[in-house]
């Protein structure tokens, strides 16, 4: 914006009065922008602030409307860990999210590399077919996957596997995202490595993967978040048993058990989003660039 404003300023130099008018107008526009952005920020951040404020209040103080808990207490967190296997819930969510992320990074990058670099018959057809599956809502696969995993005995012996195993058979979104990135890497790199005697796997592992770090980071973030925050799949595939299930399902079970006990519930909600928020503030750039990347590259 600044850049575009500098041009007319020089054009209007002979009439200083108009320049002054423009400057006042810009100031008013800036103030209005701030006013709207601040109002929006209050609405966006408000629920988080209220969550934190309530989580640190004594249960008896839950209906006080103060933002600063007085006295502040950790009692609600104590209740969470006393009454529920909270550590197990966190561990389950973490395990599923980490395995899913590994699976997606590995299989999507492998497929993306082939689609971007290797020429073979039917490549375009296969790629378009893969992209076409993005049109199919994931809910279509719920029932057959449930029946498949049940028939294979996975739901009985290791239900969590039903959640992370599909991450190991690739995915249209991740493959597309990484392929677009791989295409920006000059082919000369691959040719040079081949002349040096590198195998296809070597080119993939030593040349392409290290160069694709930003795209891999974006995919890792998406997959981890998606898995950590997912409710529908664990609700369906995992038994409603607190030792097996994830944090999201645990919290929603909790909602019925602890109805009306808002301080404890807010403490639980806070615990479930705190790690994500911390990582978000540390790796903001990757988060935001990742989202922008997924939208622009199309």
């Amino acid at each position: 914006m600044n850049k575009s404003l500098s041009a007319p300023r020089s054009a209007e130099k002979p009439i200083p009065k108009a320049r002054f008018g423009m400057r006042t107008r810009k100031l008013l526009a800036d103030l209005a922008t701030y006013a709207i952005l601040i109002f929006g920020a209050i609405i966006m951040a408000g629920p988080f602030v209220w969550m934190i404020a309530t989580a640190f209040k004594l249960p008896a103080d839950q209906f006080t409307r103060t933002l600063i808990p007085n006295p502040a207490t950790l009692e609600n967190f104590q209740t969470l860990w006393d009454k529920l296997p909270f550590t197990t819930l966190i561990f389950n969510s973490l395990k599923i999210a980490v395995l899913s992320t590994i699976g997606q990074l590995l299989t999507c990058s492998m497929a993306a590399f082939v689609f971007a670099v290797v020429r073979f018959r039917g490549r375009e057809f296969l790629f378009v077919l893969l992209l076409g599956t993005m049109l199919i809502p994931p809910q279509v696969t719920l029932v057959p996957n449930f029946i498949l995993f049940r028939t294979l005995g996975i739901l009985k012996y290791s239900p969590q596997m039903a959640l992370w195993l599909p991450a190991f058979w690739g995915g249209a979104f991740g493959t597309f995202l990484l392929r677009q990135f791989f295409l920006t890497i000059p082919r000369d790199f691959a040719e040079a490595a081949r002349v040096d005697g590198a195998s296809l796997w070597g080119i993939f592992w030593k040349v392409y993967l290290p160069l694709a770090k930003p795209a891999l980071a974006a995919l890792a973030i998406f997959t981890f978040l998606w898995s950590w925050n997912d409710l529908l799949h664990p609700l369906i595939f995992l038994p409603a048993d607190l030792d097996q299930t994830t944090l999201t399902v645990g919290l929603s079970l909790f909602q019925t058990q602890y109805a009306g006990r808002w301080t404890v519930m807010m403490a639980g909600a806070l615990v479930s989003i705190a790690p994500v928020i911390v990582v978000f503030f540390l790796a903001q750039k990757q988060f935001i660039e990742g989202v922008a990347m997924s939208g622009v590259k199309k």
């Binding site: 575009s4 629920p47 409710l231 369906i236 622009v296």
Partner: protein, 280 residues
């Protein structure tokens, strides 16, 4: 070529296999206990008479009609404001993005506390201003209240996509137009908006898909003691049929109806795209 094996397995067994299996199951009656029975078109005919399913279509379509334009307009507005690149806009960008990374269950719990009829924050403000407390999650209001939460949760993502699109608009265009005496409103209509149409197109599809898959906030905010909701979306109805009542056939038929909706909408947008999306 071994590198392609997992994806190939996923494509054949995971996705294409699932689709075929869902189609076959949609012609069966199966409760997972007794053996599956061929049912012909019964599941589909049953849907036409199933009040829950019919309601879920009304709910989902109304949801999309309000949620899609709401999310698009607000996130475009936010992106335009952030694109003025004033000092501190980075902080605003992060704050607006917070709901996108947060779990819908956790955030849904907070909203249920804010919406609570007797002691919720919203009714506290309203009664303090002299109003009557509102039952935000009653049958009449729940749809709107849940849509507000969904829009709130989606603004950040849309704003980032639009911001990336806005930053790709060349400065020269604006400078040239300004020299020619175009007002900022004219520049917005004639330069920014047309160049933003690819982002708008992409985001409309994403937001529409999200609208038709709405589940989590509905589940957290409106699920009653018996597992039913006053505003069942299509995915909610699939979940109830398939995984609470174990009507695998009916759930499969509903999933296919949902898929058909989404494919038709995407094709429809694609047709529109030819008319109004401007590619440089």
């Amino acid at each position: 070529m071994i590198l392609l094996v997992p994806t190939f397995i996923g494509l054949v067994f995971g996705t294409l296999g699932s689709i075929v299996a869902t189609i076959i199951l949609s012609f069966m009656k199966w409760d997972l206990i007794s053996p599956p029975q061929f049912a012909g078109l019964d599941n589909y005919l049953g849907l036409l008479k199933d009040p829950l399913f019919l309601k879920s279509i009304t709910v989902t379509v109304s949801f999309a009609l309000l949620y899609v334009p709401g999310t698009m307009i607000i996130s475009l507005g936010v992106a335009l404001l952030l694109n003025r690149k004033l000092r501190g806009t980075g902080i605003f960008r992060s704050i607006y993005f917070l709901p996108v990374v947060s779990s819908a269950v956790a955030v849904g719990l907070v909203w249920s506390w804010i919406y609570a009829k007797d002691a919720g924050l919203l009714n506290y403000f309203i009664t303090n201003l002299g109003g009557e407390p509102v039952n935000w999650l009653s049958t009449r209001n729940a749809l709107y209240s849940v849509i507000i939460v969904n829009i709130w949760g989606a603004i950040g993502e849309g704003a980032i996509i639009f911001l990336a699109g806005l930053q790709a608009v060349p400065h020269d265009y604006h400078e040239a137009a300004q020299v020619d005496g175009a007002t900022s409103w004219q520049r917005f209509l004639k330069i920014t908006l047309p160049l933003l149409t690819p982002s708008i197109f992409f985001q409309t599809i994403i937001v529409t898909i999200n609208a038709f898959q709405a589940f989590e906030y509905v589940y957290v905010l409106t699920r009653g003691a018996n597992g039913a909701s006053q505003i069942p979306t299509m995915v909610y109805s699939i979940w109830q049929n398939g995984f609470r009542w174990f009507n695998m056939g009916s759930a499969s038929a509903q999933a296919l109806v949902l898929a058909a909706f989404l494919i038709m909408l995407t094709l429809f947008y694609n047709q529109l795209q030819k008319r109004w999306v401007v590619y440089e």
